[in-house]
């Protein structure tokens, strides 16, 4: 187990280094001069542009820029944003809390909504209830988030003033964005769990469990659900990337700051240090979560062993 974890950490590190080189070279390969672009809203003389490029070190050869970046990054300095001149770490950290908050509440909400419904659908397979659940969840998965967000805003913040649109960080302000994020995911979780449960329900060990005289509830919860959760957990682990990056649209509609929006804006404006910082962070999170998910398998399914 320990050797496995060590190996995973080493591989993760290599993945992150690879990602950083890739991001850096891609950024410099695609066309776009961040300095000319950012002064576009108020054109200045070419001399001023040159001064700014020099101040930012953008006039240096690309490999030199990369080594500068890496040597600073190793001591925790990710540079400063080309636009705001704020340290990149600060830019990211100031947006981390709202992002994590939205992602976690979205995940929590989608799990709370998706799991029981999916379980119910599996147990009542073929009934009208099952069909209704499947239809609703399909709707949840396919409705565009943007549209859903606007409908929720109109219904719950303009028609009746139940929730604010502009989330401060209060729980009430979190409801609409989290709901927008969760509804689609809940549908996916429900559908996934239903399928997975149906597979498990046909397994022989459930017959054994019942033969032992266990109550049906225990059979379902302890034996069936636990096994059925494995593929659901895998997918949800992979969805973490979506929760962190894919919430850009929700952040935009609800006027929330977040890492997703920071990254997208940075790519559009060729804000190199910020792009590198956000990509680095998201690759760390992604690698970390997937390692955790892999380790979680062992808890869910004792047959899985790491050697």
């Amino acid at each position: 187990m320990r050797a496995y974890v060590m190996r995973r950490i080493l591989v993760s590190f290599l993945v992150i280094v690879g990602v950083s080189i890739l991001t850096f070279s891609m950024l410099h390969l695609v066309p776009g001069d961040p300095v000319r672009l950012m002064y576009g809203q108020r054109p200045v003389s070419a001399e001023t542009l040159q001064v700014v490029r020099h101040q930012l070190g953008l006039d240096l050869p690309v490999p030199v820029q990369y080594f500068r970046y890496v040597s600073h990054a190793l001591v925790g300095d990710l540079g400063r944003s080309i636009r705001s001149n704020r340290p990149v770490t600060e830019e990211i950290l100031s947006r981390a809390a709202p992002t994590v908050q939205l992602a976690l509440s979205g995940m929590l909400l989608s799990t709370i909504m998706g799991l029981p419904v999916g379980l119910l659908a599996a147990l009542k397979r073929g009934t009208r209830l099952d069909k209704a659940i499947m239809f609703t969840s399909l709707l949840g998965v396919s409705v565009p988030r943007f549209w859903l967000a606007l409908v929720l805003i109109f219904a719950f913040a303009v028609r009746v003033h139940w929730f604010p649109i502009l989330a401060d960080t209060s729980t009430r302000g979190l409801v609409l964005p989290a709901l927008t994020l969760a509804l689609g995911e809940a549908g996916m979780v429900a559908r996934l769990l239903r399928t997975s449960m149906l597979q498990v329900l046909g397994e022989e060990y459930l017959v054994t469990a019942r033969a032992k005289g266990l109550s049906e509830t225990l059979v379902i919860i302890r034996h069936a659900l636990r096994n059925a959760l494995i593929p659901v957990v895998t997918v949800m682990g992979m969805e973490v990337g979506y929760y962190f990056g894919g919430s850009v649209m929700i952040e935009t509609v609800f006027g929330r700051p977040g890492i997703g929006r920071l990254a997208v804006d940075a790519v559009i404006s060729r804000n190199f240090p910020v792009v590198q910082g956000t990509v680095l962070l998201s690759s760390v999170i992604f690698v970390l979560v997937n390692t955790l998910v892999d380790l979680l398998y062992a808890t869910l399914d004792p047959r899985i062993r790491y050697s």
Binding site: V30, P43, N85, A97, L104, T169, G255
Partner: protein, 555 residues
């Protein structure tokens, strides 16, 4: 521990993390509560309510706009979103009224030498920055030195400080600013929000982070900045130096002003309607009529100054290297229809390089062209462009009359209509939707025939970086070299008086249109919509920045 207990624990932990995340950015002031029906009543007779109730202190105004401020260091910023907030935090040396007359600000009086190279400013006494340090001649010099030092001043204001020689402190409240060349626009530029006067102590204290800690002498002080989300300003209780252009003296009425970034048009409209916001900038055109009819709201139309939204034509690349083709493109463009269909009432048609609100705008240049597709067709025919194969597109010497347009993301809204207008007279467009940076790159490399440009600036000096041939490495995307145009732009920049400057800028504007370097489209869009309970909201002399100082909440 049983499994049930374990999952319960996990749930509790997760909930704890979520609520922990909630605490750090908790706002210091309570957000404005959605106002209720009282609003509609109060607005029935706005003027009567004003005289009866009179302005009272208190209230929070939430202002929502599409962009986010980034850097509020006056010496390095070039951002419109920054300047919008800076207007409330900082004072400027002078204030200009909407008739473009100058009034005292931090400078009580000023004298300009006959050659417009030397400016002597008498400063107001008893003014304090938000950090308690005094405003005086040293502070003025400190700010001017930063604008005038090319290694420091990289913002919009630095463009007005070319040829800056220095500032002498004559006494504690008098400075003399000297330039190498005449600078007749200097006093005007001191009324621009980019010429905001910042606290030297704060700039020194924050160093590289000065842009995140704006400290001025203005009616509001910044207390919180959540990057990308909001900026909170509170009333400066010591503000006793309000310029005479305002309606009252002493501290501002509002307790606080919160600037919030809401990128999505629909959401901005929704928060204005449900009362979460008091003022919104950039109203979607379709919503304007609805707001105008509802007494709970009012709108303030705005025509931002500067170069209007315009297609810059590359005079160095066929077929736009031909004057006839460029002229035909202008005649083929129906700006009135563009403005009406694409942007409702939020934009005006534009027929020359500058918006009518720009200092030194020239009406004669604006009147040179009007939509005339027949004239466009005959110009093209005379130049030898004829449709020989009947496909609706003209040809000459076996070449199709096609222009290449590497476009930005925001341009699709009007591109379809514009291209159909050009097609009407036989000009085909190769439209390529690129991301902003790539579109700039294509234009910078001269691959384009057509590229869009638009920017906001209080005076005609914006023409220099856009059209002077020396700035081909910058923004002179027309790649047009003409001694007369270069000379007019240079003379205007170094004019010794207002008349000489105006005349040369007028000449430049006419040459730009005579040479058909651009296809003007529309003015820019920055219509402001406000809830009626917020009275006395006004735009500054540039018709663009909002003053919150006089604003009060109607009871």
């Amino acid at each position: 521990m049983t499994r049930a207990a374990r999952s319960l624990l996990a749930l509790i932990l997760l909930a704890a993390i979520i609520s922990a995340c909630a605490t750090p950015a908790a706002p210091t002031t309570a957000p404005a509560q959605p106002p209720t029906e009282a609003v509609a009543e109060a607005t029935a007779e706005p003027t009567a309510a004003l005289t009866e109730a009179g302005p009272a202190s208190g209230g929070t105004l939430v202002f929502v706009a599409g962009g986010a401020p980034e850097n509020m260091d006056p010496a390095t910023t070039y951002g419109n979103w920054d300047a919008r907030v800076m207007r409330s935090i900082f004072d400027t040396m002078i204030y200009v009224d909407r008739e473009k007359k100058m009034h005292p600000g931090l400078a009580l009086s000023w004298e300009q030498s006959a050659d417009a190279k030397t400016f002597t400013l008498k400063l107001r006494q008893g003014v304090k920055f938000h950090d308690g340090t005094p405003f005086n001649a040293e502070a003025a010099k400190y700010n001017f030195d930063r604008f005038g030092n090319p290694e420091v001043g990289t913002g919009t204001m630095s463009q007005y400080f070319t040829g800056y020689k220095g500032t002498e402190v004559l006494d504690e409240y008098t400075v003399r600013v000297t330039f190498d060349t005449p600078k007749s626009v200097f006093m005007y530029c001191l009324g621009d929000p980019f010429a905001s006067i910042a606290s030297p102590a704060a700039i020194e204290k924050w160093g590289k982070d000065a842009g995140q800690h704006p400290v001025g002498t203005g009616p509001f002080m910044m207390t919180e900045w959540v990057p990308g989300e909001s900026i909170t300003l509170v009333r400066n209780p010591d503000y006793q130096w309000a310029p005479e252009i305002f309606k009252h003296q002493g501290p501002a009425y509002l307790d606080s002003v919160v600037f919030r970034t809401v990128a999505e048009d629909q959401t901005r409209l929704a928060v204005l309607k449900n009362g979460e916001a008091g003022v919104a900038m950039g109203v979607p055109p379709f919503a304007l009529d609805e707001l105008l009819q509802d007494p709970a709201f009012y709108t303030i139309p705005s025509v931002p100054p500067g170069d209007t939204s315009q297609q810059m034509l590359n005079a160095a690349k066929p077929p736009t290297d031909e004057l006839a083709v460029r002229k035909a493109m202008i005649y083929a463009t129906d700006q009135e229809t563009l403005a009406a269909t694409v942007s409702g009432k939020t934009r005006e048609a534009s027929h020359s390089a500058l918006a009518r609100t720009t200092l030194d705008f020239d009406q004669a240049a604006e009147d040179m062209y009007r939509y005339d597709p027949e004239k466009a067709k005959s110009l093209l025919e005379e130049a030898g462009w004829v449709d020989t194969d009947g496909d609706g597109i003209r040809e000459k010497n076996g070449n199709k009359l096609q222009v290449y347009w590497p476009a930005y993301t925001g341009e699709k809204t009007f591109a379809e209509l514009l291209m159909s207008m050009w097609k009407e007279v036989g000009i085909d467009t190769r439209f390529e939707a690129l991301d902003d940076a790539a579109a700039w790159e294509a234009a910078g490399a001269g691959q384009h025939n057509v590229t869009n440009m638009a920017s906001i600036n209080f005076d005609a000096s914006i023409l220099y970086p856009l059209f002077h041939s020396s700035n081909s490495q910058g923004y002179a995307f027309c790649n047009f070299r003409d001694d007369k145009l270069d000379e007019a732009l240079t003379k205007a920049l170094n004019a010794a008086n207002d008349q000489e400057r105006s005349e040369n800028y007028a000449l430049a504007q006419r040459i730009i249109m005579e040479q058909a370097l651009i296809v003007p489209l529309t003015t820019l869009d920055s219509t402001v919509a406000a809830r009626s309970e917020f009275a006395d909201l006004s735009l500054d002399w540039e018709d663009y920045y909002l003053y919150f100082y006089d604003v009060y909440v109607k009871k």
